[in-house]
Amino acid sequence: MSLISQIISQLVNGLQSGSIYALVALGYSMVYGIILLLNFAHGDIIMIGAYVVFYAMTSFSLPPLVAVLLAVIACTLLGALIEKVAYTPLRSAPRLSLLITAIGVSFLLENGAQLVFGAGAKNVPSFIDGGVQIGDVYLSYVSVVTILVSVASMVVLTFLVQKTKLGKAMRAVSEDMGAAQLMGISLNRTISFTFAVGSALAGIGSVLYICAYGQASPTMGSMLGLKAFVAAVLGGIGSIPGAMIGGFVIGLLEALVTAVGLSTWKDGVVFAVLIVVLLVKPTGILGRQITEKV
């Protein structure tokens, strides 16, 4: 294998895991953008999505596409439900209470999953097999599908946020909650919508994750969630394009570290990035810095 084709394969790997990170990071960033909450339960929503795929395909023998749809729907509803039950009552509480609650919800989901699904990992049957050989580069269909689905989701999200009424309301609320209310925008509806959209993206991410790694386990969401969080911070938390860029950068960085033979250092390098970003440029690559004119 030539160096070039090795670089290309690693790039594809990086883009594949990067697009999953990006989808998950979007949920972190959107929620932070609107209520300044680091929703640490976000990663665990992915885990629930993965189990939905597993049970839909094995216990109910549903076709993969139906399983995927069910997972996305389940994640969307779960995200909106968590927001209603756990975060809405704390709307006027200090931010720290919200953060602690988010960590609590995360523990609840992880331990609840262990109780219900068992602590061991479940093998999810793969449903995107094969690949294509181009020169001496082997492209698996999973990688191709993952990258395409992620990019398509981001295009749809961008349209939603930029052009639709609810999307514009989201931007208005995230910029100035009080002024948005004075426009007649309902905070509760807009915030629920944001959680639902972020969780739907997590649902898509969970399916793509399962395609890549073929396993569901109760704690799978925590590492994925943490890395996506790093991606969101790197891109500039609160920024939607930032989350996309951050996700891809983290994915590519992991691939690079693996390619030079330091795969055991992968996680460490990602968290080192977090430390460096927080030290050097806490607002991230595209963090919001709007100077206000008086």
Binding site: K165, D176, L182, M183, S186, E292, K293
Partner: protein, 233 residues
């Protein structure tokens, strides 16, 4: 049209508004004047629902709105142009105006926007620009235009002259007068008491959360204590 009846508003333990009552009749411009921290903005925020009163009532067109959510008050025909304009800086002028029409049917947006552009031609020139790139005066126009998009019959204006050049202040106040002539009921909060009293029909003077004086704008303009305290004469 709008009646504030014996409200008491608190920030935590701080008693910010004390037993305040006043009324704005249909077609009037009424102004609340007073020094910084007297509670003027707090009263407006209480009317538009961002803050809550512990006692009394806020009545709009005969209906109590003191427990109505702020986003529902807009739909009842009351728009609040907040202090410091608070336009959405990362959104375009057009998008800001669309947000103003959030409670309105989509079909009303285009005609309402044309009307706003007639009032403020400068906004039309800058319709695709981000609001954050506008000058202070343009942002004030946008904030007012945005409120007008809601089809409101009552407008609460909080310090529209703040930080503007004398020329712009004059322009904004001409528009306020003209809006009023065309039927808009206006509650105006101002530190620029001279300007406010010159356009208003009636006025209330607020000091540390209490109304200490009221009367026609002309009376207050000629009142010695008002002149000393608020008009620098």
């Amino acid at each position: 049209m709008l009646k504030v009846d014996n409200i008491n508003v608190y920030y935590g333990n701080i008693h910010a508004i004390k037993d305040v009552s006043f009324e704005v009749n249909e077609g009037e411009i009424v102004t609340l004047i007073g020094a910084n921290g007297a509670g003027k903005s707090t009263i407006l925020k209480t009317i538009s629902g961002l803050l809550r009163t512990k006692t009394g009532d806020v009545i709009l067109k005969g209906e109590s709105i003191k427990s109505v959510a702020p986003h529902k008050i807009v739909a009842k025909g009351l728009a609040h142009v907040p202090e410091g304009r608070r336009v959405f800086l990362a959104m375009s002028v057009e998008e800001n105006l669309e947000m103003g029409a959030y409670t309105q049917p989509a079909s009303s947006i285009a005609p309402n926007m044309q009307e706003v552009f007639q009032w403020f031609p400068r906004l039309k020139e800058r319709r695709r620009q981000m609001a954050g790139t506008l000058s202070g005066g343009e942002q004030q126009m946008l904030a007012m235009g945005r409120a007008m998009m809601s089809g409101a019959k009552v407008l609460l204006l909080d310090e529209p002259s703040m930080g503007l050049s004398p020329l712009l202040v004059k322009e904004i106040f001409e528009i306020i007068t003209e809006l009023n002539k065309r039927g808009m009921t206006i509650l105006l909060v101002e530190q620029n008491a001279q300007m406010a009293l010159s356009v208003a029909q009636r006025a209330y003077v607020l000091e540390t959360g209490r109304i200490i004086m009221q009367g026609s704008a002309a009376e207050l303009l000629n009142d010695d204590s008002v002149r000393k305290a608020y008009l620098g004469a």
